[in-house]
């Protein structure tokens, strides 16, 4: 399994940005975050004690349509729960997240964004981290397809997803909660339960909690847990940014 690769702070003028390469779909997602910003002309719509989150998804080739509105809604609900919009400086202001999909196959009419959803979520998370937006937790997401024989396929390609019996996107918080589930196709609950276990293993690894509460991330068939990959990306960036300080010390 090729791990996704990501770079932080690729854009100079945005408060935070991230570029994310998704190996399964071949698309590259560029995300930018501006926060906190004033949202002019919408004084009546702003919540008095919370930040207003806006998400824009721009597909690579076609102009944004109805499907993008839908996926924006999904991202907005999830991020709304993760971003601490009540922190100082955020209420009555906006957190604007823009995600551009570069390359890869375009998503057809009426097709759900399921196979791209984890990549979009990860990009949004990395861009938010890069913009230093206060978050209550981080998360990691994955997409799984179940084919007719009941085999679970990790990060299916567009064709695999089209022929699969069901496609599932799951996102887990850093504390192990199921944050998001989007399942489509026909399946029964036992299948979903298996999918959930596998997804949890992909995101967190098979967790071995040692006596002192440290969580060791074991590697297994699924390779490195996604959460570790994301964490490392951020750590690398921090090292690079504080290189002068670390070297001086």
């Amino acid at each position: 399994m090729v791990a996704p690769s990501a770079t932080l702070s690729v854009l100079n003028r945005a408060d935070g940005s991230a570029s994310y390469q998704c190996p399964s779909t071949g698309s590259n997602i560029l995300g930018s975050v501006n926060a906190p910003v004033e949202l002019p002309g919408r004084r009546d719509a702003l919540k008095p004690e919370d930040a207003t989150i806006e998400v824009f998804v721009k597909p690579g080739t076609a102009p944004a349509g109805v499907g993008e509105r839908y996926v924006e809604g999904i991202l907005k609900t999830l991020l709304g729960r993760v971003i601490l919009g009540r922190e100082k400086g955020y209420p009555r202001r906006g957190v604007v997240i823009t995600l551009a999909i570069i390359g890869g196959e375009s998503v057809g009419r009426g097709d759900p964004y399921l196979i791209l959803l984890p990549a979009l979520l990860h990009t949004a998370l990395l861009a938010l981290l890069s913009a230093s937006v206060p978050l209550s937790m981080t998360f990691s997401a994955t997409v799984l397809a179940v084919d007719e024989s009941g085999q679970i396929l990790r990060e299916p390609s567009a064709e695999d997803a089209a022929t699969a019996q069901s496609v599932h996107v799951l996102a887990f918080s850093s504390k192990g909660h199921l944050l998001l589930n989007e399942s489509q196709g026909s399946f029964d609950f036992d299948t979903w339960d298996k999918v959930r276990q596998r997804a949890s293993a992909i995101c967190h690894g098979t967790q071995l909690v040692s006596a002192d509460g440290d969580v060791a991330m074991a590697e297994d068939v699924d390779g490195r847990p996604l959460e570790g990959t994301l964490r490392e990306t951020v750590e690398d960036q921090v090292y690079r940014d504080y290189n002068w300080k670390i070297n001086a010390a």
Binding site: R43, D44, P63, A64, G65, V66, R69, R109, G110
Partner: protein, 324 residues
């Protein structure tokens, strides 16, 4: 042009179904034009109910009784082509509410009316964006209502009236070619229905009015049997005409009428009956007669309106007593 905010159909567009019977209509009519079974001064029954939409300050739903031909077609369906249709519309009133910040100061209640056909309301599929006729209806409705509402009571406020037409009246019988005497006659019936329903919804929203305004339609039609012979037709005045039931409507009139004050707030007269009235005694079928006919139709609608408003008031009284 594709609409990015909606789901679009095939890019090349689609065609409405063509029925075999309409292709060979030249050889002879297979189906007959629906006939009017009512007396000339008999109105269709109106179903009017208020308060069906609780999230609005006031609401009303209006439905006309299906004509005899349509009722027959419903009970024992033979043809997929409906002989005529019956008006169905829902009206909501939101407000009075503060005007948006960007709006200029107004000492009166600002009335906005909005009439939209559902895409499936008419024989031809309607677009999602309001067309000229829908805007026209909105303007007519606004004039009809503006004279009724006591607007000085709510300065700096807005009142939004939205009407969704689920089923509209036909402009002509479907078998007729769109030719002479052609005008959107169905729109006039729709407007009368809009006025009556909006009046009920405004009363349901407890907005102060001078009177309950009601809409009515009358038309001068030439009897088709005579007209086909080519001799001078004997035009008749009919109340609450269903355009599908008449071969040619010479002129029609819709009024918004306040019975208690005997005032008209809106009048819309269309068509030319000057030639028709020549045949009979002078002014017996002049404009006056047409307007009087429309007023009589409005009086009929008013009785239904009073009942609906009474019901709304009873519900409100019941609510407020249980509240406290």
């Amino acid at each position: 042009m594709t609409d990015r905010r909606r789901i679009n159909g095939p890019p090349s567009g689609t065609r409405p179904a063509v029925f075999a019977s309409s292709l060979k209509s030249a050889s002879g009519d297979a189906t007959e034009r629906p006939r009017r079974h009512r007396q000339p001064n008999e109105l269709r029954k109106i179903f009017l109910k208020t308060g069906l939409i609780p999230s609005a300050s006031g609401s009303a739903y209006l439905e006309y009784e299906p004509s005899a031909s349509l009722a027959a077609a419903r009970s024992s369906p033979q043809s997929l082509i409906p002989p005529s249709s019956a008006l169905k519309l829902a009206c909501t009133v939101h407000g009075p509410k503060p005007l948006p910040r960007s709006a200029t100061f107004s000492p009166n209640l600002v009335l906005t009316t909005h009439v939209k056909y559902a895409p499936f309301a008419a024989r031809q599929r309607k677009g999602h964006i309001r067309d000229a006729s829908e805007r026209d209806l909105g303007v007519h409705l606004e004039t009809a209502l503006r004279g009724v509402i006591v607007a000085e009571r709510w300065p700096k406020s807005g009142l939004e009236i939205t009407i969704t037409i689920l089923e509209a009246e036909d402009d002509r019988w479907w078998g007729d070619a769109p030719d002479s005497h052609d005008a959107p006659w169905g729109m006039m019936n729709v407007l009368a229905g809009c006025i009556t329903a909006a009046s009920a919804a405004i009363a349901d929203a407890r907005i102060d009015c001078l009177d309950l305004v009601a809409g009515g339609v009358a038309a001068i039609v030439s009897d088709d049997a005579v007209a086909e012979e080519g001799s001078s037709s004997t035009p008749k005045l009919m109340l609450d005409t269903d355009p599908a039931e008449h071969k040619s409507i010479l002129s029609a009139c819709v009024v918004a009428y306040m019975p208690a004050r005997d005032e008209i707030t809106e009048i819309w007269l269309k068509g030319d009956h000057s030639k028709a009235s020549l045949g009979v005694d002078d002014s017996s079928l002049g404009h006056e007669a047409l307007i009087d006919g429309a007023i009589n139709a409005a009086r009929g609608a008013h009785t239904v309106l009073v009942e609906a408003v009474l019901e709304s008031a009873e519900r409100y009284a019941g609510l407020s007593s249980s509240d406290s």
